[in-house]
């Protein structure tokens, strides 16, 4: 019986200790009515938005910024199913348009806040010895893409299509490259992880994804084939904190915000 009580007591003590630590750090926030700003953002924005969020918290001491990073289509479905958020930053216009169609966001509200292009990435030791884009067609190469429903995956397939129209690559270029796909990942960060670990020979991701992983090798995709992704951001029509949402978006579009985005490999839109 004694042991039973010890078993029950231990987690309680642990939890109390934890909550004491967290409450003490939030005391100042409570004093001025803590507010929570919820931002749903595309997975590729993880690093940049985390930094912008930290800055926002330091300029707005009473605000805690909470992020939900996932594939844009996952975020849009979650919002559609009633998830509550203040801001939605999508990696493509399609999901923003879907959100408008569902009445989650008002028309003409979204603003383009950055551009992003795609690159081919290779593991640090380049096990398949990929030197040019043409090497992607070599049979047996292990290529990992984001799934075709994920913006990054859609863009990658568009790029392959663009290259197939060029005689240098050949009209079956896309088919031959896609035959090497060993996995369609659920978001672009998973593609980076598989290449970074050396499990895949190559992957196609946003150039911004390579900033946090400098060890991966990069092959540039020429501008005439590349797809420029435009990221729209908007406050939700039912945002619990519309004012904070507007302030956050202004922050993202400000010089400071755009500088942070540039630091993480994005091309600023402003």
């Amino acid at each position: 019986m004694k042991r039973f009580f010890t078993l029950i007591l231990l987690p309680i003590i642990f939890l109390t200790a934890c909550s004491v630590v967290t409450t003490s750090s939030q005391v100042s926030a409570h004093a001025t009515q803590a507010q929570i700003l919820t931002v749903f953002a595309a997975a590729s924005l993880t690093d940049a938005f985390t930094e912008i969020g930290q800055n926002f918290e330091s300029t707005h001491p009473s605000v805690t910024v909470k992020f939900n990073f996932a594939g844009s289509q996952t975020l849009r479905t979650q919002l559609e199913q009633g998830a509550v958020a203040d801001v939605f930053a999508s990696a493509n216009q399609t999901e923003m348009d879907n959100a408008i169609k569902d009445g989650l966001i008002e028309q003409n509200v979204p603003q383009i806040f950055l551009f992003n292009k795609l690159v081919v990435i290779l593991p640090p030791n380049n096990p398949a010895n990929v030197q040019t884009l043409n090497d992607l067609t070599r049979p047996g190469l292990k290529l990992v893409l984001a799934a075709d429903v994920v913006p990054a995956g859609k863009y990658a397939r568009q790029i392959l299509d663009n290259m197939s129209k060029n005689a240098d690559f050949g009209y079956d270029f896309s088919t031959r490259v896609l035959a090497n796909v060993v996995s369609n990942e659920n978001d672009v960060k998973q593609v980076v992880a598989k290449v970074q670990l050396g499990e895949a020979d190559a992957g196609i991701v946003y150039v911004s994804d390579t900033v946090a992983t400098p060890e991966v090798k990069i092959i540039e995709i020429p501008a005439n084939f590349n797809v420029i992704a435009k990221y729209p951001i908007a406050a939700l029509a039912q945002a619990p904190n519309p004012n904070l949402a507007t302030q956050f978006i202004t922050d993202v579009l400000s010089l400071g915000g755009q500088a942070i985005l540039k630091k993480w490999g994005f091309a600023p839109a402003q």
Binding site: G71, P123, V182, N184, E185, N186, L197, E199
Partner: protein, 275 residues
């Protein structure tokens, strides 16, 4: 109907005490039941059949059934001797082995997937040796089976260990005295007496393998017909259209319900047989 009347009579006779049991139970039953009910009801007004019987859904279903069945067979073939050892033998490091078997049950599957990748990935600790032999595990159906076995086999081993431990050791010793060999002891005594536990454990392992998601997507990736099992197709279907995801989910719930009913039926028959 009769039992319902009895239930209400119970309520009427000493109602105020029974509520202590009924109210908390109903709360949890609602939490467990309502989401499934909503899922099934929602599937009616979607184009259920066109989604459920689309080629990619059927491919995922077939891959799920085949891989999970192989995982169960591996669990039985290699787990039965292990469970017997754990039930009957005393050996150095036994408690360590027991801990090792309990761990995958409580670990998040994503941890399992990451561990598999770091161990058996192409550039993993042991995988790099395999790749010298020309074997590369990630992104293959073998990787799916490994992930499923990793998370589900412990369920069978645990069940079988308990089943074997419950068989009276004197019966086994008597059979040995009578001159039975190890196989005869197993086929004549251990399997019939521990059978219920073994079958129950095997079906539980099967359903767990069927539902495996986290370890699979990390270690095996996602490719239709090769590594895209039902749970992966559901996750991706969720991003494509909710209808597909709901149809696939209802199918998976259906398969799991059939398997669980089968376990109960087997347990019941066995129980009657014993009496």
């Amino acid at each position: 109907m009769n039992s319902l009347r009895r239930f209400f009579r119970r309520l009427a006779s000493n109602g105020h005490r029974d509520w202590i049991f009924i109210v908390p139970s109903l709360f949890l039953i609602a939490l467990l039941g309502l989401p499934l009910l909503a899922l099934i009801l929602r599937s009616f007004d979607q184009e259920f059949f066109s989604y459920a019987f689309s080629p990619s859904a059927l491919t995922a279903l077939r891959l799920s059934l085949v891989t999970s069945l192989i995982s169960v067979i591996i669990a039985i073939a290699f787990g039965t001797p292990l469970a017997y050892m754990l039930a009957r033998w005393k050996f150095f490091g036994k408690s360590f082995v027991e801990l090792l078997i309990d761990l995958p049950v409580v670990l998040p599957p994503s941890v399992a997937g990451l561990a598999l990748l770091i161990a058996f990935g192409r550039q993993g600790m042991f995988g790099s040796a395999l790749s010298l032999l020309g074997i590369s595990l990630p992104f293959t159906t073998t990787a799916v089976i490994m992930a499923q076995t990793f998370v589900s086999a412990p369920l069978y081993i645990r069940a079988a260990r308990i089943g074997f431990a419950e068989v009276d050791i004197q019966m086994e010793e008597a059979a040995h005295v009578e001159g039975a060999n190890q196989w005869q002891v197993f086929s004549e005594i251990m399997f019939p007496l521990a059978g219920r536990a073994l079958i129950g454990g095997a079906i539980l392992t099967w359903t767990r393998a069927l539902g495996e998601f986290g370890a699979t997507i990390l270690f095996a990736g996602n490719l239709e017909g090769v590594t895209q099992t039902m749970p992966l197709a559901i996750y991706l279907g969720f991003e494509r259209s909710l209808g597909v995801a709901i149809a696939l989910s209802v199918m998976l719930v259906g398969v799991s319900v059939v398997l669980l009913l089968l376990t109960r039926r087997l347990e019941k028959n066995h129980g009657i047989h014993q009496r």
